[in-house]
């Protein structure tokens, strides 16, 4: 049981690392939303399920399962609301202006 919990927590920590690196390194707001919205949800669910396996079967485990279900619902909803607000307020996705076929497309250059 402890081995399974350690495997789950380490896998979740890997996905959280991917999410943080993507938030720091990706070139655009929409790409960063992609990194945060999916990897963060999966990493959270993996870490919490590892802790639930480690805890055994009692009331706190049921509450951990409630938090997992809530994060699974809430985190994609929040990222969708923010990215929809960004798109409606006119934040354009980035394009590579150096390529000739993208010369007159709207969009910001990457940093």
């Amino acid at each position: 049981m402890v081995v399974l919990a350690i495997v789950l927590v380490v896998g979740g920590a890997f996905f959280l690392t991917v999410s943080a690196i993507g938030l720091l390194r990706l070139p655009d707001f929409y790409a960063r939303v992609h990194a945060v919205g999916k990897s963060e949800t999966l990493g959270t669910i993996l870490v919490l399920s590892g802790l639930a396996v480690y805890n055994g079967w009692e009331l706190s485990t049921v509450k951990v399962l409630f938090i997992m279900i809530f994060v699974l619902i809430a985190n994609p909803t929040a990222t969708h609301a923010i990215s929809r607000a960004a798109l409606r307020s006119g934040l354009a996705p980035w394009t590579r202006k150096k390529r000739p076929e993208n010369k007159d497309r709207k969009g910001t250059e990457a940093e």
């Binding site: 380490v10 938030l23 706190s60 938090i67 609301a81 923010i82 006119g90 934040l91």
Partner: protein, 89 residues
């Protein structure tokens, strides 16, 4: 297992610091909000881990539930607000 939990807690705290850097140095306002959601979710995991470290999980898990609800409400409210006022990024 306890030292492993200490290591994971420190590691996730470092990742949260990366999110805090993006909150402080974001390019647009939406970057800052999305980094704040990352900090909130990592804080949720940190609260649960600290509960397991201190052997007080029945207390810390309730705090984590309240924190998750507050984080969700804050992010939805900020998204609706910046949708309505049409903030120029």
């Amino acid at each position: 297992m306890s030292s492993f939990l200490v290591g994971i807690t420190i590691f996730i705290a470092v990742l949260t610091a990366a999110g805090l850097y993006r909150v402080a140095m974001g390019k647009t306002i939406f970057d800052r909000i999305i980094a704040a959601t990352l900090v909130g979710t990592n804080g949720l995991i940190l609260l649960t881990l600290i509960g397991f470290l201190f052997e007080r999980i029945s207390m810390f898990i309730d705090i984590a539930i309240a924190y998750a609800l507050l984080n969700f409400v804050i992010v939805i409210a900020l998204g609706k607000y910046f949708d309505l006022v049409q903030e120029k990024p």
